[in-house]
Structures are given as C-alpha cells and as structure tokens.
Amino acid sequence: MASKRCGILAGWPKLLIVGLLCLSGTAYALPTIEHWQTASGARVLFVAARELPMVDFSVVFDAGSARDGDRPGTARFTNALLMEGAGGLDSDRIAERFSELGARVSTWSERDMAGLDARMLSDPQQLDTTVSLVSLILQRPDFPPQAVARVRKQMLTALENDEQSPGSRGSKAFYQKLYGTHPYGSSSGGTPTALQQLQRGDLEIFHARYYSAANALISIVGDLSRSEAEALAEKLASALPTGEAAATLTQAPETTQAQELHISHPSSQAHILLGQHGMRRGDPDYFPLYVGNHILGGNGLNSRISQEVREKRGLAYSAYSYFLPMRVEGPFLLGLQTRNSQKDEAIAVLKETLENFVHNGPDESALAAAKQNLIGGFALRLDSNKKILGYLRMIGFYNLPLDYLARFSQNIRELTVEKIREAFQRRIHPEHLLQVVVGPTSSEQPKRP
C-alpha cells in the first residue's frame, strides 16, 4: 500500500514535497488562518477559499445558556428574536430580503455560544447587501412585543416536544443531575416557569450585555481577499458596542459518588446514559482523552463499546461514548438504547467495558489503528468550507492556538498506551458515575413490544 500511495503523489510537480508528504501523512497545504481585530475590538479569523463564488461566515458571542443566570432560556430566547425584527424591518421583510439575495442565514444557541451563520454568493453587491442586513440584525434587534409573545409560545411547545422524546428527557436530566446549579445544569431551551417570566426588557438587557464586540468572534471562509474580508468584518462589528468580555465561568463541582436516576417513560426501549465530568477545550489532557475515547466508543462500529454491545451481543443499534469539551469541563458520556427487559445486561456491559478500559488502557494494536485512522483521515476534516468554518469557530472561541490544525497529527502521533491509560485513570472514575435511565419502570409493561 505504501508504495502505491507515494506512486500517486509522485505525479506532483515538486519531488521534495513528495518525500515530505509520504513521511508526514499530511498530503497537502493546510488552510492558512489569518486573524485580526476589528476597530471595535471583535476578533476575526479568516480563511480564503477562492474556488467557489461563495462566502460563509459566522458571528459567535459568548452568550449561550451558560449566561442565563437564574432564568433558563434567556440566551436562546434572545437569540431567536434577532431575525424577528431589526432596525424597523419586521420578520417578513427580513426573511424576504435574505431570500431575494439567495442568502441562507440562521441563528442558533447552545450552552457556551450563541450566534448567527450566513452563507451567500460572493458577488460584491449581494454580499454587501447581505452583510448590511446581518449587521442590522446583530446590532439593532427590535424585540417586537408580538414576536416575543409568539417565540415564547414556540419555545414552550419545543419543551413539550422534548418531553415526548426519551432521548431528550434523558439528556436534560443528565445535565441537571451532573451539573446541579452550575450554569451547564440547565437546558438551553429553558423551563416553562422561566419562559413565562421573561419579559421583552430582559431580552434587551441580555442582548446589550453580551452581543458586544469584546464578546464576539467573527469567522469567515470564502471567496474573498484579505482586504474584502476585513471590510466585511468591519461592517459586521462597527456598530456593536465595544462592551466587555463575559465573566469567566466557574469550574463545575466534581462528582464524588455514584448516582442513579430513573425517569418513567412509556417507551419500548430504555435510554441509558452514564457519565461524569469530562474535559474543557484546551485541556492539557485533550489528546490522550480524545484518542482514548476514539478507541473506547468514538469510532463507530470499530469502537470497543460498539463491539461489546452491538457486534457481540446485538443489544443496541447505537452504543457510544464521547467527551463534549466546553469552556469549562463538559461531560464525558456513554450511552445506548435497548429494549427495556435487557437494560440491566446492557448497563453491565457498558460499565464493564469502561472499567476494563480505564484499568488496562488500550492495547498497542488498537492505538496504532486509531492513529492511522485519525492521521490518515485528517484531510476529511477540512474538505469543505463549512467544515473549515467550524474549526475557525472552535479555535477562535476557545482561544486554541492557531496552529491547532497544523499540530493535530503530531499531537496524536506522540501518544502512547501509557499516556492514555494514565490520563483515563486520573480523569475517569467508573465508581462515581452518574447513571440516568429513561423508560418504563420495572413493574410496568411497555405499551408496545
């Protein structure tokens, strides 16, 4: 295989590079990330991609539900109203304008971030009009009272929707139990009580506090020169208040004992979640934990959990584990869904697989395979503008080094079985797991087979 790989590359013009390519495994130039600040202080990351006549950008604020305070749902409620009226334009006009421009613009919010994504053609006039409208939305939202009332109802309906899904119920309960009163404990969608209490003025205050230049990151990928990208970023950020960066989030308290929670739900399956605190973005243990998890439960059917739960025993369709690195320690989660009558067996397999992994670490061959997979597949992470934009957002928002992508493969290559085992033993405590099960209680018969 190796000779064939180099054989194909030998068709490239520069032989010197070919030699490097075969050694390093990164067979092409990484996107060049340029960065600067706008006059108002917003940070900007930019990658020029001139092949297609289109531009993607996202503006992200440290304004996710971690900033909700004692009113869960504030961040999402605020974010959802951005496109409902701005600068005197109502929601119909805003939607029509974007549509007529062929632009796709959407807003979103999670625990750490809230923001706006936009995709448009790079034709200068259309680009200019689209960007002007986006800046209006970010800087001068009107929060029209009728839209506030309607979005409130829609968010309440979304909560009802969550209640009929065992997966959503499990996930919400897991975060609640794991994080308690820490800002990650509440769900981004809010609670019925808080949504009923939130008034238009609360959203305006939240917007004024968090949608500021100092709290913003602009990521741009597309068919622009550096100076065009600078002009775009200026336009987006110029009228944002300078503001100040959001306060540092407090650490989440460690869990020190095992907990079990059962939520009764009339489903045929039990949805099982096990977990604990995981890691943050930029964590010194990021690579050993990430690669270890890739072997444990992060690489589809090849992962140990999938092998044990699905391939050997046919207990579940989906069985996995993952770390969700966030600003402060996000969760480490293991999960599966199985018919209720065999949930105890499935939980036991899941726990045993984790215990074995933490105790023994990965074997050499599994680590070698994981390295080959992650390094050999690195190009797949960056094969579209959309994916590159996702990396810019992550690198920028979490202040990761700008050579994060350039060092990615080397960071993985350096790992050893010992490093992974040591990191898992230090960070993961199978005896202190939180266990959440959603499904019929043992005495109940499920309504369907």
Binding site: Q126, P266, L315
Partner: protein, 449 residues
C-alpha cells in the same frame, strides 16, 4: 439560460457571475460486465468519495419480507469468503476512512470517504462484497436484534415517526411505498437467511449497480482502477422487478394515530408524480416550485402566514420528492400552536392548498424560489458527498445522472400558470390523505435510587 430570460424573471442573482464556477462535467463509463461508473472530478480538497449504489430498496420488496433490503445492508458488514466480520470497517478505518451505508425506497448504497490516494482499498473491498458476501445464520440473529432496536429507536418510541409510517401505509394502497424502509416488525423477525441469500444474489450484481467516485481524482486513472478491481466480476443480467403501481385513489382518506405524546401533529398529503413518472417533466418542476412557495425558507407561505401571521402553527412544513422511481406524495405537515384546535389547523393547511389552486402565485414569490435554486446550485458544491449523492440517485432510479444539470433550468422555466395547473391537477381533495396524531397520556415521574 440567457440573461434576458433572467431579467424577465426578475432574478437578482447574476447567472453570469455564478457560471464562473462551472464544475467539471462528470463522465460515465460502462464496464463489460454491466457496471456503471460515474466520475466527478473536484479538486478543491485532497479527498475522494466512493458510493456504490444498488438498484434495490424498500420499494422492490413485497409483503412478508419488508425491510429485507435494509437488513441485508446491515449484513454487508459481516464478512465475505475473503474477509471476516467487521473487517471491512476495520480496514477502511486503518486507511483513515469513514464509511457507512444507507437504504432508501429506491436504492441501497455503500460509501467510503478517504484521503484521495487510498481509494484502492475501498474499491477492492466493495468489489469483494458485491459477489462474495458470507451470510451466516448466527450473525443474522444478532443483527436482527440490532435492527429491531433500530426500529424501536427510530419508529416505535417516536410518535411522529409512527404517524408518518401509518400515513404512508394508508395513503398508498398498492404501491410499495406503503411499506416502511426499515420494514414491519414481524417481517424483520421472520426474514430467513435464505431470503437474504436470494435477495443478495438477485440484486447485488454489476449490471444492477452504479459506482460514483467524486473528488480529487483523475478520471482516466479511476477508470483503470475500477476496471482493475471490478472488471473480473462476471457479467450479469438482472431481471427488473415488476412495478406494482398505485391504483387511482377514489376518495379522501383519513386516519388517527393514538400514541403516547404531548403534542398533536397533522399530515396532509396528495398523490403526485415524481420527475420519473410525470407525463411532462415540467409538472415535476412545477411541484418542486409549489413546495418551495409553501416552504422554501422563512419567507415562504407556511412560515409567513401560519407560523408568524395567524400564529396557528408552532411549526409547519411542506415537502416533495422530485427524484423517486414511483409516484410520490406532496406532504404538508404541521404542529398546532398552543391554543389551536386540530380542525382549525387542518383548515388552515387546506386553505393554503385552495389558494394555490385558485390564485396565481406572485412573480416575486417565483423569483425568490428561482434565486434560491440558482444559489443552492453553487452551495451544494461545497460537499462532494452531496454531489455524488445526486448523481448516484438519478442514475439508480433510472432518470440518468445527466438530468442533474437540468434542474436549475427546469425550475427556472416554471411559470405561475404552471404552478396553478399542477395545484389544480394534483392537490385535489379527493386525492388527499390526512393523518392526525392524537396524544395519549404519558405518565412519568422521577425515581432516585
């Protein structure tokens, strides 16, 4: 399309601008054994996608063996005469690849995404499992349980999915589109290893397959590589399935689905031709336009009039499948807003349909959809996977991959009169099917242990 035509449509986007991004045209070849190969060069990133499409899927099945295409798709990862169970996935992973498969009504497809120099191993393995799958009884019993869990997860425990399944089973009387892709539970339980062997032998053959390769490749080199791996497979003559067409619908149909849920849900569908079955292609493009008028983006009628304007719906959507082998459904779906009764919601959806039949849509609405289509044609090129999907699907359902490039012109040529004509012809009350999800009480509370 010329600039004068565009000006007549009032399109804001300059097509001349977009045309600078014209993609490299795909090329297609037929091997002596009947295998069709389509190559789409795209040199933006050093990656390649391989998709092998088989002309078989849920619409090829009959009562008693529904779900067999999907079950066989799962079994395709269980090894061949030359490779053990799971080895396919392991070998692809070792090359840094990601792989999976999907089953639809009209196709079963297998794909790998790889760094471009590593395509050979994927082709070697796909060629091997095209004819040499080892279907083992013990592996089947485990995988049958996995698929039953998949069905519980996706359908049994999801009230909307249950409603959707019952809706299709009611709307279609004789067409195989009445069967769920995953199959009815009893059929999944009853399919035997011999059934699978027969299904595999019948459909997994070079003349019944379409291989699409897209990415940073050279067409001639790919042709040679594919010839090398697939050329030795003996020629086959696959006998197509006799299509059982849908009988004309004689009167409206109505059903209720009672399931544990919090929110009601409504589906309203009308029998409609696909591009494959339409008497004239423009009818299918007019139906695409019609679906876009209802639900193209936030400026479309359902969002503007039902979600925002009258606030009758918490959410509403419309969908139409242009690329299907058989006659399809144009479907409107909606969740009522908090204070809306279901009859009022249904009436609102029906009023939307009546309006399309009675009144010509405005030129502005038409122009918006056309603008979105032209821009969308650029945006979709950000994903080589999506490009390959389109080519594979068109070829597999028998339209031919060349039809991909007629889409923009096809939709752009549609007039308001044509939209009204298809509304009158197909959105007829006597051809409607209405499904209503009636939420049943969900008891549930938490138990800490």
């Amino acid at each position: 399309m010329t600039m004068t035509q565009l000006a007549a449509f009032g399109i804001l986007i300059s097509l001349a601008f977009v045309a600078t991004a014209a993609p490299i045209a795909p090329q297609a070849f037929k091997l002596d054994n009947g295998l069709t190969l389509i190559v789409q060069e795209d040199h933006r990133a050093p990656v390649v996608v391989s998709q092998l499409w088989y002309k078989t899927g849920a619409s090829y099945e009959h009562a008693g063996i529904t779900g067999i295409s999907h079950l066989l798709e799962h079994m395709m990862f269980k090894g061949t005469a030359n490779h053990g169970p799971g080895e396919f996935s392991r070998l692809i992973a070792r090359e840094g690849g990601r792989e999976n498969a999907f089953t639809g009504r009209d196709y079963t497809a297998y794909f790998q995404r790889l760094e471009k120099s590593r395509l050979g191993v994927a082709l070697e393995l796909e060629a091997d499992r095209m004819r040499h799958l080892r279907l083992d009884g013990a592996e089947l019993e485990k995988e049958r349980q996995v698929v039953l869990e998949e069905r519980r997860l996706r359908t049994e425990d999801n009230p909307r999915a249950l409603t959707n399944e019952a809706f299709y089973a009611t709307a279609f009387q004789t067409s195989p589109y009445r069967h769920p892709i995953i199959g009815w539970q009893q059929d999944i339980q009853a399919i035997s290893i011999d059934d699978l062997r027969a299904w595999y032998r019948r459909w997994y053959a070079p003349d019944n397959a379409v291989l699409v390769i897209a990415g940073d490749v050279k067409t001639q080199a790919i042709r040679e590589l594919v010839e090398h791996h697939f050329g030795a497979i003996p020629a086959t003559t696959t006998v197509p399935v006799v299509v059982r067409e849908e009988v004309p619908q004689r009167g409206a149909k109505r059903l209720q689905v009672a399931a544990p849920a919090r929110l009601p849900y409504l589906l309203l569908g009308y029998k409609s031709p696909s591009l494959k079955t339409a008497a004239e292609p423009w009818e299918a493009y007019a139906l695409t336009m019609l679906a876009g008028i209802l639900d193209g983006d936030d400026s479309s009628r359902l969002a503007r009039e039902l979600v925002r304007g009258s606030e009758i719906a918490a959410g509403a959507s419309a969908s139409y499948s242009l690329y299907q082998r058989l006659d399809s459904l144009l479907v409107l779906g909606a969740t009522p807003a908090a204070n809306t009764e279901m009859p009022a919601l249904e009436q609102a959806l029906r009023n939307q349909v009546t309006k399309l039949r009675d009144e010509a849509v405005s030129e502005r609405e038409l122009a918006r959809i056309k603008t979105q289509v032209i821009a969308g044609n650029v945006y979709e090129r950000d994903s080589i996977f999506y490009q390959a999907m389109q080519l594979g699907m068109l070829e597999t359902i028998g339209l031919g991959w060349q039809r991909r490039d007629e889409f923009v012109a096809g939709v752009s040529a549609i007039t308001a009169a044509q939209v009204q004509a298809v509304a009158r012809k197909y959105l007829r009350p006597e051809h409607a099917t209405v499904a209503v999800l009636k939420p049943q009480q969900m008891d549930g509370d938490e138990h800490g242990k």
